[in-house]
Symmetry: C2
Subunit: 503 residues, 2 copies
Amino acid sequence: MRLTAENYDIGIAEPTALLHEDDCRIIGIREGDHVRIEGRGCVTAIASMSDTLVRRGTVMIACGVLGASCIHPGDEVEVTAAPIPESVRAIRGKMDGEELSPEEISQIVDDAVHDRLSRIETSAWLTALHIRGMSMCETASYTSAMASTGSVLDFGDRRVFDFHSFGGVPGNKITPIVVSIVASEGLLIPKLSSRAISSACGTADFVEVFCPVTHGSDDVRRIAESEGGVFSWTGATDLAPAGDRFIRVQRPLGIDPKPQMLASIMAKKVAAGATDVLMDIPMGSETKVRSPEEAKAYARDLMELGDLLGMRVECAVTYADQPLGVAVGPAPEARECIQVLENRPGHEEVAEKACICAGMILEMAGMCDGTVRARECLTSGRALERFRAIVRAQGGMDGITSEDVRLGRFSADVVSPRDGFVNRISNRAVVSVAKAAGAPADKGAGLVLSRKRGRKVAKGDVLMTVYSDSEDKLEDALEAAAELEPFDIDGMLLDRIRPGSLR
Amino acid sequence: MRLTAENYDIGIAEPTALLHEDDCRIIGIREGDHVRIEGRGCVTAIASMSDTLVRRGTVMIACGVLGASCIHPGDEVEVTAAPIPESVRAIRGKMDGEELSPEEISQIVDDAVHDRLSRIETSAWLTALHIRGMSMCETASYTSAMASTGSVLDFGDRRVFDFHSFGGVPGNKITPIVVSIVASEGLLIPKLSSRAISSACGTADFVEVFCPVTHGSDDVRRIAESEGGVFSWTGATDLAPAGDRFIRVQRPLGIDPKPQMLASIMAKKVAAGATDVLMDIPMGSETKVRSPEEAKAYARDLMELGDLLGMRVECAVTYADQPLGVAVGPAPEARECIQVLENRPGHEEVAEKACICAGMILEMAGMCDGTVRARECLTSGRALERFRAIVRAQGGMDGITSEDVRLGRFSADVVSPRDGFVNRISNRAVVSVAKAAGAPADKGAGLVLSRKRGRKVAKGDVLMTVYSDSEDKLEDALEAAAELEPFDIDGMLLDRIRPGSLR
């Protein structure tokens, strides 16, 4: 059917073509069908119908779709029903439990990254993945397909080291420290990090406090080649962008299908040119991985996937039953990160974890006594020197110190309601308090713990200090702290049971 | 966060709230999250983000959502992250293979019908249903929940008969005939039908040729009570509207999960107040049901579901290896339907199937020799009389005859390319030709077969006549006929095999 094209200003990430209901009946299509729109160029879109918002004889095309075609508003175009995309057949195959071919998997990823799949189709794909899973061969194909959707960093024949922390532990600010140590030992480690998804602060969120993180792929490669390391934001590069398409759809469902998670992580590594990757798997009662068995299962999958992709993978299972270090939130974590590099006391946990992870990477490169060597690198100040060089190369200030980091203007202490011991600090509650204070959007927002697990406290002792850029949010954060009680304070007597006191 | 509300003119069936990316970061939400919008009234919506199409400090709310709230454009509203709906937890339960409670199922249906589920969530639900299925108890809860989403016809203590044909056989115009026979015997049969989904013509599409079909629930009840029967369109009533929400999402995926299909059909029957239902299950190589075993499995499910719902269900498995009768398309089927009621020769197949189905319903009501009685009703003209009374009550012309039905202005014959026998007529190809001619949107479009399966034909004999309201579409239909060859004409010698002729 011949229709006039119009621009449809719509913000959703779906290639929509809005048509009048009567025209849809004539064309023989319904809501959600794929249509082919042919004019100067040719493009496909998902049909949406209305009997009031669009005139008969007109097709309103989402700007994104119109932009990708050569069609101009006002053009006469031919609109016909498009066949069901090949990838929808493959999605149905996965629903029915089939093993998909590399070509089918590649088609799905290609259609997703070029906005040819509707959200209905993408949701069906992720639901099918959640239920049916994938073989390791399929996962490897999926990873390769996702890696090839964007640019790939090329460092020639050099070994490229990389590092990835599974989420789940607040205050995990070791990435710039690990990168600085590894790079100062002459290795290449172009590390790209994400922002917070549901946490109070991702690595990119706190690094941004002391230097820019929005570097394109070429800049990342250039900085890594000159400084040996980089700690930038993955979102500004064009590395494996397909993962984000899927995350946008799986988040509202609260699912994270295992093959999707593995492929998303590994695709970024493949695209970053990594040859050797250390995986940090935090284990704790409030993280994704809760038992040694689960941790081993993840490690086995990651290593097997690495083998199939020609990449060496090692895993560190790390303690995550409370926040790492004392600071949570962008500026607090930025400050603690630099304090560790400056060898200030009071941050031993963070230094220990960073040196162990960096040490494992050094050993993967063939060096001996990795942790000792990493520790020496840190205490000698060589790591700090390398850190400052990278910060400068990323466009940050020269000779940065922890004193340069400003925390939120408003702050308040949370004190212990009783004498006792810190039995437990809830990661989840700490994250909620920091988010209520404004993290990660407000850079100054967050908190600094004064007591960690196992420490004795007296009634009225400060447990933590909450920081915020706004008085209102500080109030919200204190309310959240009162309600969620991140600190579980008990005496040695946890309960007193007498005859008749048990229900 | 406090924002100003604006109207967002958007045609998609999803409750969208469009927000600026910066505001989303501050509120702590992402694309696809549920948000709560509180002003004069309170409403939830699905967040969509843009950094160009919406100003900071503004939330653009889809008209449907704004209409349902008491919020006016220009109002200041408070926007916060809403918790994940309970039904999304239940959807995840189904993904993980859990048996859902009646409350959980009812929550999902309620959220779907009130537009509280995004298409991502609805797609995940249908994919999970397709893969995991439902127990018969869950399906019964699902049916009841869907039936209670709209109005319910109440005929007091009377027995209410109903009839449903599974799709798949083109030219199946028996519904008004069955209704007329059953009603003329004093039974109550308020039959509601659908329009074509992928076929060339649904019952409502051809009935509309001779009388209006868009009656609300009250009119349907009134006509059924006065005339004993009705053949109207289900879409104009408010009976079990939930089914349509799901169909819109499952169609693009090309899936039809069995519990969804069973519940959608039965919910309409429950809402129509049916106590006794005859199910017509057409069986043939190009229909949904292809073997006697499949037909029995469907019948068993439908009867078991009927038992759980307190409804008597019987099934007729019917021949569907070629189109029923000679006419396909709205006007052609309307004419043939009335010709059968007028006892004109040449439509014996249609009369036979209608009398068998009507007869089974009469026997369900306790009458003897149902088919004989139905046949007598048809040949005596009592069925025609009742048919005309219903047409009049629905707002159609008085004393309608088959001569009153006008076929498409343009027509052309398709002739046999050779001598032989009609070996096969492809349902699918016949439907494609009728749709190319303009069916079901163009009422005059369709075709009339001159030869059915098994008949001898000479080269040049007319096989069928194609009708259309437009010369272009007639041309398209003839091209489709040439390409798809609905008729398979062979001599008695199908192949001649000699040494060396086999590959």
